[in-house]
Amino acid sequence: MIHSLFLINASGDIFLEKHWKSVVSRSVCDYFFEAQERATEPENVPPVIPTPHHYLISVLRHRIYFVAVIQSEVPPLFVIEFLHRVVDTFQDYFGVCTEAAIKDNVVVVYELLEEMLDNGFPLATESNILKELIKPPTILRTMVNTITGSTNVGEQLPTGQLSVVPWRRTGVKYTNNEAYFDVVEEIDAIIDKSGSTITAEIQGVIDACVKLTGMPDLTLSFMNPRLLDDVSFHPCVRFKRWEAERILSFIPPDGNFRLLSYHVSSQNLVAIPVYVKHNITFREGSSQGRFDLTLGPKQTMGKAVESVLVSSQLPRGVLNANLNPSQGTYTFDPVTKLLTWDVGKINPQKLPSLKGTMNLQAGASKPDENPTINIQFKIQQMAISGTQLHTHPHTLQLQSQSSSSQLTTA
């Protein structure tokens, strides 16, 4: 099981360590540093590193490496999933998961880690339960604690720990009963020069925020459940019912949680909601090249395309670029040759464009690679896959649907 945990920041300092069994010397991290040195990019550090007596399993989140030390045969996915849970919990408690936040709350962090793992076995990882055991720090509570001398450690056995619905605490009361469901979809698509889609897949999640009194039993159904290829559910969803009737039936946890995530594969045709007209050329024998890019919406069902961000890795030979955006701002990093253009919202009447020239380095030959163009955008209130939730008589209001997407053109 998980022996120890080290948190390492971007500059290679171990700023927190926690041991659940015997103490493992922090020199074990030297093997990690070695691997880190070998990797060219921070994210290229292999997740599983063997050392003579231990195994190091690491994840990189928010520029912090979470390095777990294990000694015996433990499923690596188990460790990685657990580390992710630790990150999520920190984020949940402190708003952000940064070195500063962790150092500021080091005692809470320690209490949390102690509560989450016992002798290497996960103990309580559900945020609902943790919050009952250890109250998240808020300015108000800290002040109250200092004045009254009370603590932020719960005195009661968390009620959900052993019930049939371990994810929900009992005795929840709200004056305003409400539940929100967000359908967030990300398309990941590669489009070739001529505009035809090579691959496209959709990763979707339904995040929920449920604030309902008592033990509500909810049902949700989809307009078109067949779209969903592969679904992973929060443990609260009754799987049998889904299998039989394609209806989501569950007693929700209290507060925010991810109800389900799904995958719509490329077999189903995905309509890409934006298009790009591009003309990037270098002339033979000239040190200049033309750059011309225009974006436009298509098939957005009248919804606006927002937060558009275009980035493109220009060829290595490019020295600089003189471009003129019709809207938004652009930057060109001469070291990494990365061009980014923050477009903002696309106005269908006046399509945004970026035109101008690029200068090649002296003596550089005409680059033969075609730069790839990366486009990120968001469309509120639209799910690309066509997923739609049906509401059921439980007075549920479907509040907002949003979708953010990422697109690559080659």
Binding site: K18, V59, P76, V106, E114
Partner: protein, 949 residues
């Protein structure tokens, strides 16, 4: 007001100040002080000096303070064992607190104090907590048993905690069940032979029920535990699968992968024609695909496992090629894994897509990735014949880029393509030769040299090319040197007239100026071959090369089976059996997939349980590379890792000065070594002193070259069972016949003792056989020349042949005999050991073996166990060889020797065998494959008999 204030302290006397604060009367100040201590501890400062002061704070009703003190205790108790005893009382008290949270906290902390002295005091509280009314306390106590076991295993056993823990598996609360399973699994890991997790259908049922209700982590423990169970039949297996399948939709990927493990294992038991089997296959694909959209770390582990799954059951993901396409922002470790799986999934249907992708990858920036992509193109060519042409032209395009490492990598793979499709793509050689100068890596140089040597007759200036390499002979790596030697010898054999000088030069370089025993020995071998018999040399050196297998670096089937049982673990990430690397897994048992029920094979040895019979093993591909085929002569590009002692001085072998080719090849060594017949006798049994100096350092290589059998040692006589009474005197009217069978010098003999127990003289003996399975018949009359007087015995040996009439008998080796004498005709039947039908020329060529093994369907495979055999693998192969069971190759995988053997029956039936011998384990496993599977049982009996004799 954040905790960071705890880190800032005044410079002088930090510990001193904390001490004062800890002993303060004010609760608030105390708590702040403890927090400061904890903060220092987390960043690795030594605050152990404060131990007594902190422990004093333990007696408090403030839960947070209590927790903090417990945290401190866990960290430092080990360094202050005497002090830690002070804490015991509080623990005992807390274990009886009315608040279950405090009881649980106490029992949790207790177990983390790793001090021997204390543990004894903790047994009573722990026992109470294990039976606590509150499940929260029980589940915490279950884990505590595992902790305690880690500290003092004996104590836990003596106190009977293990039994209590086992009882908890039947607890009403699923969380308690899950924790009990987790604790037991951990304890079991250090006691591989203890029967801690004694799984039976009842406990399995309980686990499956708990599986639905416990937390995700508990599900992982339960699933991993389920994977160790072997269901009784396919029905039970199916019902478990049905109940596990919903876990595939879990949000936690570790749960998903553990579920996949259970399903992959139990699927083996399901009959393939079952509808449910197909449904299950379909259900496995989507969750695996979804794992690939998770974070890169998860993807990596998932991909390593998918790699195994694809090898075992390619059908699951055969339509999902696209998800393995590399994304531009994947970390490199994910990219490389994806590439590997792409090649495994490549087939005629998707090859165009794959090639287009690979070609793109080959222009990426990351060198490792590009190299692997180029190699992948070559592997596609070898795997999918239809695509070979396109692959070759793609590779040529890549060579034109002149990017150094791309060119080198391309040449290495083109060499393999030439091997696979001889006489098809040689037109590209010219292009390759243009890049000769840019090659600086040994592997690429060796590959190029191989190509030049192999196609010397088509390359006009082959001699010049090779000569150019020869100049820097001593600076080359061994790999290149060996290859160069072989290539020049090939060249010489093809164009003898122009290259005499060259070959002489390389031979003298190899034999005289090199310190490398491999190189020198290979040089001598060639030298002798050339000088003794150039025609033979041609036959050997330019021999037809065995085909290379389509799939490279496949995991060896037995290992794959074991790894499938370990999906989701470290073993599956490293593709090594757990015993190979996990410290502390003291003698992990090897797991095997269960056999499928009701498949074609009925032959089972009487002493093997049904679980041991692996029936539909995967197409057992024996990797064709290096070690097994040992194709030293003209294929081997990997330098043999010989670190033998420096070879003895080659007395009498000063050949360099002689004119090797001038005077007459035959005479060159003839005089020295006593004629070429000595050569013919083989190096295995060294005929003369000088030759002996050969066999010492080369052993492995020579065995490969000549006859492995010869090298192993002198064969012992064939096994012959002791005589048994075939015809008792009671039935034979006074004639008693006892006898046995033997094979001596290639002749099957029936050895009988005839005893006259009657009162009268017996004469006129004659013998006849009934038709039998292998057409055994007497080769001559029964030679009893003198009459047999009362109480006299006579030994008769009857030579047999196998040309008689054939009829299948039951059992197969049954022989019905009629013996006549002057009194009457007597009938009896006896069983002969099938080993006497094993003919002397039953040694199969390696490549033929490989092909045959693949060719014979898995339904014809039978597996047996030979128990209580205490022989080393060498002794085994020696012994078997005596009975004409020939060892063709031997491999050692993870301490387990695998002997690949062949034998041929007198009627031409080949039996192939894979014998697994594990050092220290008296039980051997033998896998038999034969086109006529009914003989397997008999052959196994012979194995058993021969080895135990």
């Amino acid at each position: 007001m954040t905790d960071s204030k705890y880190f800032t302290t005044t410079k002088k006397g930090e510990i001193f100040e904390l001490k004062a604060e800890l002993n303060s009367d004010k609760k608030e100040k105390k708590k702040e002080a403890v927090k400061k201590v904890i903060a220092s501890m987390t960043v690795g400062k030594d605050v152990s000096a404060l131990f007594p002061d902190v422990v004093n704070c333990m007696q408090t009703d403030n839960l947070e303070l209590k927790k903090l003190v417990y945290l401190y205790l866990m960290n430092y108790a080990k360094s202050q064992p005497d002090m830690a005893i002070m804490a015991v009382n509080t623990f005992v008290k807390d274990c009886e607190d009315p608040n279950p949270l405090i009881r649980a906290l106490a029992v949790r902390t207790m177990g983390c104090i790793r001090v021997d002295k204390i543990t004894e005091y903790l047994c009573e509280p722990l026992r109470k907590c294990l039976k606590d009314e509150d499940p929260y306390v029980r589940k915490t106590a279950a884990v505590c048993v595992a902790k305690l076991h880690d500290i003092n295993a004996q104590l836990v056993e003596d106190q009977g905690f293990l039994d209590t823990l086992k009882d908890l598996i039947s607890d009403s609360n699923p969380m308690v069940v899950a924790n009990a399973v987790a604790a037991l699994s951990e304890i079991a890991e250090s006691h591989p032979n203890s029967n801690l997790l004694d799984l039976n259908p009842q406990t399995i049922n309980k686990l499956l029920t708990a599986l639905n209700e416990c937390t995700e982590w508990g599900q992982i423990f339960i699933l991993d535990c389920l994977a160790n169970y072997t269901p009784r039949d396919d029905r039970e297996s199916q019902s478990i699968c049905e109940r596990v399948t919903p876990r595939l939709s879990h949000a936690n990927s570790a749960v998903v992968l553990s579920a996949v493990k259970v399903l992959m294992k139990f699927m083996e038991m399901l009959p393939k024609d079952l509808d449910y089997y197909g449904t299950l296959l379909k259900k496995l694909a989507p969750p695996l695909v979804t794992l690939l959209s998770a974070e890169p770390e998860l993807q990596y582990v998932a991909l390593r496992n998918i790699n195994l799954i694809v090898q075992r059951r390619p059908e699951i993901l055969k339509h999902e090629m696209k998800v393995f396409f590399v994304k531009y922002n994947d970390p490199i470790y994910v990219k490389l894994e994806k590439l590997d799986i792409m090649i495994r999934l490549a087939s005629q249907a998707n090859i165009a897509q794959v090639l287009a992708e690979l070609k793109e990858y080959a222009t990426e920036v990351d060198v490792d990735f590009v190299r692997k992509a180029v190699r992948a193109i070559g592997r596609c060519a070898i795997k999918v014949e239809q695509s070979a042409e396109r692959c070759v032209s793609t590779l040529l395009d890549l060579i034109q880029t002149k990017v150094n490492y791309v060119v080198q990598e391309a040449i290495v793979v083109i060499k393999d393509i030439f091997r696979k499709y001889p006489n098809k793509y040689e037109s590209v050689i010219a292009t390759l030769c243009e890049n000769l100068d840019s090659l600086d890596e040994p592997e690429a140089r060796a590959a190029m040299i191989w190509i030049v040597g192999e196609y010397a007759e088509r390359i006009d200036n082959a001699d010049e090319l090779l000569e150019s390499f020869l100049e820097g002979f001593h600076d080359e790596s061994t790999q290149v040197q060996l290859q160069l030697l072989t290539a020049i010898v090939k060249l010489f054999l093809k164009k003898p007239t122009e290259t005499q000088e060259l070959v002489q030069q390389v031979l003298s370089l190899a034999t005289q100026d090199s310190d490398n025993p491999d190189l020198r020995d290979r040089g001598y071998i060639y030298w002798r071959l050339l000088s003794t018999d150039p025609v033979a040399a041609k036959e050997v050196v330019l021999a037809e090369k065995p085909l290379i297998s389509e799939e490279t670096d496949l995991i060896e089937p037995t290992l794959l089976e074991e790894l499938i049982c370990h999906i989701g673990t470290l073993a599956s990430v490293y593709h090594k059996p757990p015993s190979a690397f996990v410290e502390g897994s003291r003698g992990v048992q090897h797991k095997r997939l269960p056999g499928s029920a009701g498949s074609g094979e009925s032959v089972e040895s009487p002493d093997t349980g049904s679980a041991a019979g692996v029936s539909d093993a995967p197409p057992a591909v024996i990797p064709s590379q290096g070690d097994l085929l040992g194709d030293l002569l003209n294929l081997d590009l990997t330098p043999p890792a010989t670190t033998g002692p420096p070879p003895p001085a080659t007395s009498g072998m000063q050949l360099g000065a002689m004119d090797l080719l001038g005077g007459g090849l035959d005479s060159l060594l003839g005089g020295d070594l006593g004629g070429s017949s000595a050569m013919g006798a083989g190096f295995g049994a060294p005929p003369a002193a000088p030759a002996a100096s050969f066999s010492a350092p080369v052993s492995g290589g020579l065995d490969d070259l000549f006859d492995l059998g010869g090298g192993v040692g002198m064969p012992m006589g064939a096994y012959s069972p002791p005589k048994t009474v075939w015809l008792p005197a009671m039935k034979g009217k006074g004639l008693e016949i006892s006898g046995t069978f033997a094979r001596r010098a290639g002749v099957i003999q029936m050895e009988m003792t005839l005893t006259n127990k009657a009162m009268s003289v017996m004469t006129d003996f004659a013998i006849q056989f009934n038709r039998n399975s292998f057409g055994l018949a007497p080769a001559g009359p029964l030679q009893v020349l003198t009459p047999l007087s009362p109480n006299q015995s006579i030994e008769v040996t009857l030579p047999l042949n196998t040309v008689g009439p054939v009829m299948k008998m039951d059992p197969l080796n049954n022989l019905q005999v009629a013996v006549k004498n002057n009194i009457d005709v007597f009938y009896f039947s006896c069983q002969y050991p099938i080993s006497m039908l094993f003919v002397e020329d039953g040694k199969m060529e390696r490549q033929v073996f490989l092909a045959t093994w693949k060719d014979i369907s898995n339904d014809n495979e039978a597996q047996f166990q030979i128990k209580d055999c205490h022989l080393s693998s060498d002794a085994v192969s020696n012994k078997l060889q005596g009975s004409n069971i020939f060892t063709i190759a031997k491999r050692t995988v993870d301490g387990q020797d695998m002997l690949y053997q062949s034998t041929k029956l007198s009627n031409g039936i080949w039996v192939l065998a894979e014998l697994r011998v594990q050092t220290g384990n008296p039980t051997f496993t033998v896998c038999l494959k034969c086109r006529a599977p009914e003989v397997s049982q008999c052959v196994f009996q012979s194995y058993d008999a021969v080895l135990k004799n």
